[in-house]
Symmetry: C2
Subunit: 126 residues, 2 copies
DNA sequence: ATAGATGCAAAGAGTTTGCATAGGT
DNA sequence: ACCTATGCAAACTCTTTGCATCTAT
């Protein structure tokens, strides 16, 4: 039986409160505000556990480590800022992507990642 | 000045001859047919060098290590088989993706990866 | 002969795992 | 009290780097 620990609650709360998908490191830093001695191994273990139980999901990114976000209802994609590396949700989807695949290939999903500058970095005009 | 070595030639040849983007490990295995003592460090060093000089390009994939392919002229995307993990080129692009980004965000590029079963794995009905 | 390239092994970075202990239930 | 969860450190995997040696020019 799975237990409710301060660490697990903090990790879940941080992800639920975030407005964007977080990296394990971001989760660690944010959750340490609540549980100061929190270790990275605990973060990884809980991310895996929360993914398995379905309350959060991993966001795989091209060439970067995964981010984690609450399980959403709607299909959506992501935007990664080339300046601060943070990832944001993007709503909407071009749709009908299966037609792009070569003949004989079965498509059952896709990942779309947009790149550029987030509003904050644009304002800071880095 | 950059030299022409058996290792470098073999690595370049393997990538040019492939019909799909190859992982460093795939490059190593294929190039060893030509240069038996080839080391993985040499593969990595040459991949970086070839990317820098522009003759090949890295294909970043969500949650997987990069693959390498010759520099193509046309913008295209990729398909990764969930069964054999191999990556294939996909021609075409849904286009007009910048509109999906939140207001204030500047989009300057994108990556699209399709997932499913490649023709070969479909035939093997794994 | 010179200086870039290679192979090996060690070093890094990120993630996972083993183990003794802390702490939910 | 029992047994899961934690923190630390070691182990792992993938990639990069240091160094002595090899080799293209």
């Amino acid at each position: 039986m799975e237990r409710t620990t301060r660490q697990r609650s903090a990790i879940r709360a941080v992800i639920d409160a975030a407005s964007r998908p977080l990296s394990p490191q971001e989760v660690l830093e944010a959750a340490r505000a609540e549980v100061s001695g929190l270790g990275i191994a605990t973060v990884y273990r809980n991310l895996k556990l929360l993914v398995d139980e379905g309350s959060i999901q991993a966001v795989a990114l091209p060439g970067d480590s995964p981010r984690y976000e609450p399980t959403h209802l709607a299909h959506h994609h992501h935007f990664q800022c080339r300046s601060c590396q943070r990832v944001f949700d993007v709503h909407g989807c071009p749709g009908d992507l299966a037609r792009l695949a070569p003949a004989g290939f079965a498509v059952d999903g896709h990942e779309l990642t947009l790149y550029g500058r987030c509003a904050e970095c644009m304002a800071a005009q880095g």
